[in-house]
Symmetry: C2
Subunit: 287 residues, 2 copies
C-alpha cells in the first residue's frame, strides 16, 4: 500500500501523463487529480482516463492531496507553486517536481512553501523521450530509471523517506544529492549529450541533407535526442548554464586534441584516445 | 536465382560473418568460401557453418569464385588483394570490399586488379555495430541498409549492375557515387557522429565516472558507438582524414556558437538553434 492517499499531477505532458499511467498501474486505490493549463487538455485526460479528476483550477486540484508533482517546464513552476501556496492545502502535503535542473528550481520553490504547512523537495527522474505530450506517455517510463532527490538542510528525513518510497514504488532507483551536485551530474550525463547530439546534427547536415539517405544506426542513435522540444531544452540549458558551459568547454578541449592527432597523423595517440573512450563507455551496463 | 555461383568472403568478423549468414539465407545454392587469417578462425567458421568452405590460403579460397568480398580492416586490404591477383582466378571474378573509406581503398585496389582478368569496384554497406566478431554476426544486418557503390571511369556498366544486383538481393538500398563523394558523405553521416560520441564520452566522464549511475537513454544512445573497435576507427579516421577534419571543424564552429549564446544568455537565438537542429533531425524517417 502507498502512504499517499491522493496525488496531484500538474501538467499532463509526456512526464505527467506517464506518471498518471504508472500510478494507475502501481498504486491502485490512490486518487489522482490532474491540473492542466488548457481546458482541452483537462478534457483529454478525463476522456482517456475516466478514473482521474482533471481541472484547470489549481486550488481545486491541490485540495486534499498528500503529494503534488510539478511536471511543467521549469520556468512556469514558480507561478503554479504560488497559486498552490495561496490555496487550501492538506496538513501533510509534500510537493515535488520532475524538472531537469535543481539549483534554480529548489532555490525558487522551497521559499514559496516555507511559510505554509506544505514542504518542497526536488526530484528528477532520469526518464524522458524526444517525443512529447500525453499521447506518447507510457506506464513503464520510470521502470529502472534513476531518480535523483535533492533535499536541502531544511528538509526533514521523514519527508525525504516518504518521497523516496513513492519513487521506489514507481520502479525507480533513488539517489540523494545536493541540488548543486545534481546540476553538475546531469550537465555531464544528460545536458552535454543533448548539446552534442544537436551539434552533430547541425554540423553533419548544414549544407547538404541528402547524406541522410545513407544514414545508419550510428547517426540515428548519436543524434536521436536532437529531436527533443527546443523550448524545453533552451530553458534547461539556460537554467544550468554554468555547468553546461563547463562541460562544453571540456568537449571543446577534447575536440581540439582530436583535431591535433589527425593533423599530425599520430595513429598511436589516436588509438589510445579511442581506447580511453571505449573503456569509459564500456563501464555503462548493457541497457 | 543469383548470377553468382560462388562467393569468397575474406575475414569472417562482424561484417564478413553477417555476409555469410545473409547469403546462406537469401542466396541458397550459392557456394561460400571463407578466408581467415588464423586457422582457429577458419575452424570456427567450419564448426558454426558446416556448409561453408574455410581456409587460411588466399589462392585456395579465391579459386573458381565469381564474387570476392574483402571484409578486413582497410589497411590490410592491399596485401590480400595482391595475393589474389597473383593466384588463379575465374574469368568473371568481380572483387569488392565493405570498407568505410573509398578514396584510398579504390586508389589502392583498382590498379592491383587492372592487369588481371578480375575487376574491382568498391562497396560500402552502411551497417555495423559497436560489437565485433563472428559471434555477433547476424543474417539481418544488411536489411534495408543503404549500400554505397563507388564505380570509377574505368568500371563497366555490366559489372556495376552485377554488384548492385548482389546487394539488392541482400536487402540493401543501393546508391552510386564517386569515391570522393562517398568519403565526404560518410564523413558527415558516420565518421563525425562516431567522433562526437567519443568526445561526449570523454568530456562527460573524464574526472568522475560515478555520474554513470544516473545515465538514461540520452547518454546511452548518444555515446553508443564510442564502444566500437579503436584500431578499426583509428584507421577509418586517418584514411578519411581531410573530410573528417573538415566535419570536425564545422562541429567546432557550432560549438563556439552555442557557447556564445549561453554566455550572452540569448534565449531566442538558442531556441532557434535548437529548432534548426530539430527540423534537420526530423528529416530522418523513423527507424
Amino acid at each position: 500500500m502507498s502512504v499517499e492517499r491522493s496525488i496531484a499531477i500538474f501538467s499532463p505532458g509526456l512526464l505527467g501523463g506517464s506518471l498518471i499511467k504508472t500510478i494507475l498501474q502501481r498504486l491502485p486505490g490512490v486518487e489522482i487529480r490532474v491540473w492542466a493549463r488548457r481546458e482541452e487538455a483537462a478534457e483529454e485526460v478525463r476522456r482517456e482516463m475516466p478514473a482521474v479528476f482533471a481541472s484547470t483550477s489549481v486550488p481545486e486540484v491541490v485540495r486534499g492531496t498528500s503529494l503534488a508533482i510539478l511536471c511543467m517546464p521549469i520556468q512556469h513552476m514558480p507561478d503554479i507553486a504560488r497559486q498552490m501556496a495561496a490555496a487550501e492545502m492538506a496538513d501533510d502535503l509534500l510537493v515535488t517536481d520532475v524538472g531537469s535542473v535543481k539549483g534554480s528550481v529548489v532555490a525558487d520553490l522551497e521559499p514559496i512553501f516555507a511559510p505554509t504547512k506544505a514542504v518542497f523537495i526536488g526530484s528528477h527522474p532520469m526518464a524522458g523521450s524526444q517525443r512529447t505530450g500525453l499521447a506518447n506517455a507510457t506506464g513503464d517510463l520510470f521502470h529502472h530509471a534513476a531518480c535523483l532527490l535533492t533535499p536541502t538542510g531544511g528538509s526533514r528525513r521523514e519527508d525525504v523517506d516518504r518521497l523516496r518510497a513513492f519513487w521506489v514504488k514507481l520502479g525507480c532507483r533513488v539517489r540523494e544529492m545536493t541540488p548543486q551536485q545534481h546540476d553538475r551530474c546531469v550537465a555531464r550525463i544528460s545536458h552535454l549529450p543533448h548539446a552534442m547530439a544537436v551539434l552533430t546534427t547541425l554540423a553533419a547536415l548544414h549544407d547538404d541533407t541528402s547524406v541522410l539517405d545513407s544514414a545508419a544506426g550510428g547517426f540515428r542513435d548519436t543524434t536521436r535526442v536532437a529531436g527533443g522540444d527546443p523550448a524545453m531544452w533552451a530553458g534547461i540549458f539556460l537554467n544550468n548554464r554554468s555547468e553546461v558551459m563547463s562541460a562544453l568547454e571540456d568537449a571543446s578541449g577534447v575536440l581540439r586534441d582530436l583535431l591535433e592527432m589527425l593533423k599530425t597523423m599520430d595513429e598511436e595517440a589516436l588509438r589510445q584516445f579511442l581506447v580511453r573512450a571505449k573503456s569509459l563507455r564500456d563501464l555503462l551496463p548493457a541497457g
